[in-house]
């Protein structure tokens, strides 16, 4: 996919004036947040589960090399094949080579962030192999040639009217507003594709080192199709997907569906341990696992920032994020969006291209509270902001000399109580000209003008809190 992260500000402006996107974001994020809340409040041991999940992930990431080796050995022992890809190009090439060796001309794909990250679809197409997205949302945006906008609901930005037009054009069905019918049309078309495909490509939710088990979680059944119908199953995973023990799944199986969609269990979960056994009636003859680094191992160097790799892609942090809720997924310009995008993308793409993302946060911490693996977002965002500043001491990420001067003055004032009191008294006097009904609506000069351009500023109270407090103490 085309990366537009370096045009973040422009993307945001476009998203904010897109009325239908705003509507879709409002509905989707509100709904997901609500159902998640319901599911979580019904779980008395929720916090204990999160704590365990974090502990397992910390352990797993801290032992990644040995665990990956163990996992790979298990897969091989089960009769599967393991491929190692240091970067995106190698990963794509591995899949292409596999397809060529087996004479595969079309492959069915089930939602995989990793495939998106490495640009697998484009690479396959260039190699003359047709990739077909099979998750309904992914299929819709593939037909429309658009990138996904949400981890869980990739096509939330499209209305049924738009989808109806799209299907009428691409699938030749009569235009209809009926969602049932639209879904049925996709079902019919994709059935054919599943049947004709020589290869099924999926992501991986969890990879168990102890047993070589690959876990896949879904609602539609397209992952089961992709892993069961074609003769070859290719699973693509980032190095961070590995967890130590089979028993650890007890924790994640209860956390993931609830966090993602508020379900107690997703409609389908598959624990795949090797290709079809000789005595089994069906399933793929070959299982290939592609383990992709693509910049992740470099993230391990910083013990704080590496926590971004704990992510299990539930999407909960997106839905609760006040920034994501306004700007949506496309604005982030790459595969990962929302709070998790703001901490992963700068580390994977580099600060030159994605240095602005960590600043797109109010640091409210809603993401931290929602995250099933307890990633401490505010802490990581601040660490990345520091990095961004160190990285570009001169450019300072677009901060003007005026802003820096204002910040220096602010810091100078705040560092002494006397100066603070003086400044507050001064501000109280000066604000009078601008206050109406307790709000300052417009200040014509910098830096306040920057603020009041978009929003009101609450006026300072006529008497400072300290004065009120001292007075009340005297009264007693």
């Amino acid at each position: 996919m085309e990366i537009t992260t370096d045009r973040f500000a422009e993307n945001i402006r476009r998203a904010l004036v897109d009325e239908s996107l705003q509507q879709a974001l409002r509905t989707a994020t509100t709904k997901f947040t609500f159902v998640r809340h319901l599911a979580v409040t019904q779980m008395p041991d929720w916090e204990a589960l999160r704590e365990q999940a974090e502990r397992i992930k910390r352990h797993a990431i801290g032992h990644l090399d040995t665990l990956l080796e163990q996992f790979a050995d298990r897969i091989t022992a089960l009769g599967g094949h393991v491929h190692w890809a240091p970067d995106a190009e190698t990963a794509c090439q591995i899949v292409i080579d596999l397809a060529r060796r087996h004479g595969v001309t079309s492959a069915v794909k089930a939602k995989s962030m990793m495939a998106e990250e490495i640009g697998l679809n484009e690479a396959l197409e260039r190699a003359g192999i047709t990739p077909v997205e099979t998750d309904l949302g992914e299929y819709i945006i593939q037909l429309a040639h658009e990138p996904p906008s949400h981890i869980i609901a990739p096509a939330i930005h499209k209305s049924k009217r738009q989808i109806a037009e799209l299907f009428a054009e691409k699938l030749g069905i009569p235009p209809t507003d009926d969602i049932q019918e639209l879904t049925a049309a996709a079902r019919r078309t994709l059935r054919e594709k599943f049947f004709g495909a020589g290869m099924g490509i999926t992501g991986v939710n969890f990879a168990v080192a102890e047993t070589g088990t690959i876990v896949l979680v879904e609602n539609e059944g397209n992952i089961r199709f992709s892993t069961s119908l074609p003769p070859i199953h290719v699973a693509i995973m980032g190095i961070e997907k590995v967890i130590p023990r089979f028993a650890d799944l007890a924790v994640f199986m209860r956390l993931l569906p609830r966090s993602a969609t508020g379900q107690k269990m997703s409609a389908y979960v598959s624990f795949i341990t090797g290709p079809r056994k000789r005595n089994e009636p069906d399933g793929p003859d070959e299982l290939h696992v592609v383990i992709v680094d693509n910049g992740r191992s470099a993230m391990l160097g910083d013990p704080e920032l590496r926590r971004a790799l704990y992510c299990i892609h539930c999407g909960a942090c997106l839905n609760v994020c006040p920034v994501y809720r306004k700007i949506g997924g496309h604005a982030y310009g790459w595969v990962y969006s929302g709070p998790i995008g703001a901490i992963v993308t700068p580390q994977l793409l580099g600060l030159d291209r994605a240095g602005q993302l960590p600043f797109a946060s109010t640091l409210c911490g809603a993401c931290r509270d929602a995250c099933p693996v307890r990633i401490d977002f505010p802490k990581l965002l601040l660490a990345l902001r520091h990095r961004a500043h160190r990285h570009h001491p001169h450019r300072r990420n677009g901060h003007s000399w005026r802003e820096r001067l204002a910040m220096a003055l602010w810091a100078f004032t705040m560092k002494s109580e006397r100066r603070y009191r003086l400044a507050a008294a001064l501000a109280r006097r000066l604000q009078r000209r601008f206050v109406s009904n307790g709000l300052i609506r417009e200040v014509p000069f910098y830096p306040f003008s920057e603020w009041t351009k978009y929003r009101d500023l609450p006026a300072l109270a006529p008497r400072p809190f300290r004065a009120q407090w001292e007075a009340s103490l005297k009264e007693q």
Binding site: H59, F225, S270, P281
Partner: protein, 235 residues
């Protein structure tokens, strides 16, 4: 070359992790062992069956609690008749043989699509083609999970991956005594299930909310899920 790539990745991981080691040792030695809280076990089996049925019904499946063999037969026959199922995929699960489901299908003049045994490439292809046209898939289930209303299917000689997936209607027969409290218990207790190349958890019919977040069933997998729970061994 493959080994080179492997070494490159593992070395990079190892080196980067070591940078951190000087700072704190905790990540390297962390316990990591998952001691999971297991939901209470003292709930008796009857309550567990109730919970299972409740949860599974809540996600859109139909659950029938069969107290007698005739009851089970009657329900299965109704499903066959209702869908005018002419082509029925039938797994080789022992519980289905015991119930003599095959005779039921024959009585309704249905064609039976059987699981292939160690099929060749072409036989497997032929099986898939026939499955695509099936009206109904009948399988067993290794166990049920009460907490979430989940069926667990284990692939084996007698149970495949596709009979529960391709036909528009899936009917599963489950023994009530195999209903466990939840997924944690299954994972903790059923290590032997790893003999299966695929452990399939099914919780309701196939569903999507990808168009305007409107719930729609039967997007890829079955539109209908029926579960017959056999609870007749009380006497």
């Amino acid at each position: 070359m493959v080994d080179e790539r492997k070494r490159a990745i593992l070395t990079s991981i190892g080196e980067n992790l070591r940078i951190q080691r000087t700072g704190s040792e905790s990540d390297r030695e962390g316990p990591g062992a998952a001691t999971m809280p297991v939901s209470s076990r003292d709930a008796d089996q009857e309550a567990r069956v109730q919970k299972f049925a409740e949860e599974l019904t809540a996600v859109g499946a139909r659950v029938f609690l069969a107290r007698t063999r005739e009851g089970a037969h009657h329900y299965v026959k109704e499903v066959i008749d209702h869908h005018r199922a002419r082509r029925v995929a039938l797994s080789a699960a022992p519980v289905l043989a015991e119930l003599e489901i095959e005779a039921l299908i024959r009585a309704a003049h249905g064609d039976i699509i059987r699981l292939p045994r160690t099929p060749s490439f072409d036989e497997l292809k032929e099986y898939k083609r026939r499955l695509m046209e099936a009206d109904l898939g009948i399988t067993g289930a290794a166990c049920g999970l009460a907490e979430s209303g989940t069926l667990v299917l284990l692939t084996s000689e007698t149970e495949g991956r596709l009979a529960s997936l391709l036909p528009p209607v899936h009917l599963a027969v489950l023994n009530a005594s195999y209903i466990l409290p939840g997924v944690a218990e299954f994972i903790a207790e059923t290590r032997s299930s790893l003999r299966s190349s695929d452990i399939i958890f099914i919780t309701g019919p196939s569903r999507t909310a990808d168009i305007e977040l409107t719930l729609t069933v039967g997007v890829h997998g079955p539109k209908e899920l029926h579960v017959v729970v056999l609870a007749m061994n009380s006497e």
